[in-house]
Assembly symmetry: C2
DNA sequence: TTGTAGGCGTTATCAG
DNA sequence: CTGATAACGCCTACAA
């Protein structure tokens, strides 16, 4: 691949002059400019981003750490982040932690090696006090997406508020027993519980941990063997909701007549399911825009910026399943 | 971030000695080694990948060009590629062409800028004779995934063979009219047609182009208004199949009694749908492994390798929808 | 076993 | 307007 020095030789000028031409400096004689540009085009010159980065300027590289890119929601997020980054002239180095904290740590190192200009991250652990420290060591701007981390820029959907809305929605739809399904008891669980508690329905609420399909089926079977009024089920995310729907079908429980189901993330499939799945819509595009925007802002900032906490409001997309 | 030179100063040795220690050379006095390692650890040293790359050695970076990462199939592929690359010590720069050939071209340039060691790509166009030329200009090894490109390493599922299997399967299940649904008439379409032709059923076969949900609904409605025997529908991919299922429900056409549906990619949702969706399973893990493996092989090869064409066999996962 | 010197491709700073 | 020169952080000779 041709370099500036080589172009310089071919066009009989100095290498810095080539640099000036290729970077659009106006202080170059037109004839030289022409000659250099022609040569560059002929040999399909592309600047060496490594050299540029090494020299001290920016690398125009953003590290993106996700937990699971095979989840439609994160895949969509990655897509939007990539698109947004691209319009701002950045490229993306992608890492998938697979919910493994050790891998996450490793990636945090790798990201430093490449001297990325900034990092967008979805931390594995929700309440990990170590994160702000890690980030401090990182020595590059970090914006947390989808989660809230104290002391760091966090762009996220307000899970708690959203889950309160979910609870309110289920109550409004006439459900009288409630089930939360998920693997860990996070903000979603909290908000859900909270709203039901204020409505005086806490004792009608249960949680079922999701571990695998079989276990879930057994748990739900046991639950529905005890007769009771209509149950509103809040699934941690759409993938989980999909499984719940499929199990309810096996158990022959009509949706939404006897049990309602609402998911989270409003992935593309929700509208096509049967019954069409109600879900909490995340403003993915907005999140990506805000996150990348904030990150570049921090990258270009001359002075320290205070941490930004930006909880975005969720909206519930109601479909047939509730 | 601390550099070798700085460590050298702190430990009162020369910079190359630091390099030797940090790269595990044995020809260093134990006391010096200790001192340097301690200092490196204390300051959390991470080598500068840009400098290393610039210096002439490899960047340990792979460019990955996908068409649409929000598609579960590609998201899964990306995940596996990332995982495989990581075990081999590579990181991934991700690009999403969004089926836009212009963006693809741009990305091919960007990838060169970063001097990636190799590229894994899903080309936008299936029959683009220009690709091999682009790749030649690229000056880095390229492996094409999911598609076959003449003259380049191609790791792909044999769409044609798979689609022949699909046709045979539908015939075997007693379907007597056939529908192919997709946006373009590629190898899937060809194989499907081919098998039906050899079975003497070509005149019972139609294609419906997928443009949007509304249009598809109208087309299917029109199709089913003409009474006929059971129809076997082959949808271009699972996403498309999902939509077809949802439309058939609207049209009140029982699946699989009156119409059978089979998708492509066997994404995770297939088994949870109602009726559970038959689909062509792609060996994603294997594809990722083979592709990354081949790419690294080519990266490390001393002499030119002949293009590899590796069509992987597909298996059909039969579920209730057919 | 260790240190010195040179170069990878840029940009920035200075002279001319 | 243009050309030397140094520097970024690392590795690879080569020399001591």
């Amino acid at each position: 691949m041709i370099t500036m020095t080589e172009i310089a030789k071919l066009t009989h000028v100095s290498q810095p002059t080539v640099s000036r031409v290729l970077n659009g400096s106006t202080t170059v004689a037109p004839e030289i400019r022409e000659r250099v540009l022609a040569c560059a085009k002929e040999h399909d010159y592309q600047f060496n981003a490594l050299a540029k980065g090494l020299q001290g300027s920016k690398t125009q590289l953003l590290g993106v750490l996700l937990t699971d890119i095979s989840n439609s929601f994160f895949a969509d997020l990655a897509k939007q982040i990539e698109a947004e980054a691209r319009t701002l002239g950045y490229s993306i180095i992608l890492f998938n932690s697979d919910y493994d904290a050790r891998r996450e740590q490793e990636y945090l190192d790798v990201v430093r090696r490449y001297r990325v200009d900034g990092v967008l991250a979805v931390p594995v652990l929700r309440n990990n006090d170590a994160w702000p420290d890690c980030v401090k060591k990182l020595d590059v701007p970090v914006v947390v997406v989808t989660r809230r981390v104290e002391g760091l820029d966090s762009i996220y959907l307000d899970h708690e508020a959203a889950s309160r809305k979910v609870a309110a929605h289920l109550v409004e739809q006439g459900f009288q027993r409630f089930l939360f399904i998920g693997r860990d008891y996070d903000a979603k669980y909290l908000g859900f519980q909270q709203e039901l508690t204020t409505q005086g329905l806490a004792d009608r609420t249960k949680n079922v941990e999701y571990w695998n399909d079989q276990r879930l089926e057994e748990d739900l079977r046991a639950y529905f063997q005890q007769p009771g009024p209509r149950t509103g089920i809040f699934a941690n995310n759409d993938i989980c909701a999909l499984r719940v729907l499929s199990i309810l079908r096996i158990l022959d429980i009509p949706v939404p007549e006897q049990a309602g189901v609402i998911g989270f993330d409003d992935t593309f499939m929700a509208r096509y399911l049967h019954p069409a799945l109600s879900s909490v819509s995340q403003p993915i595009g907005r999140m990506a825009k805000e996150a990348v925007g904030r990150l570049t802002q921090r990258i270009n900032a001359v002075e320290a910026l205070p941490p930004l906490t930006l909880p975005l409001p969720a909206s519930i997309t109601v479909r047939k399943s509730t």
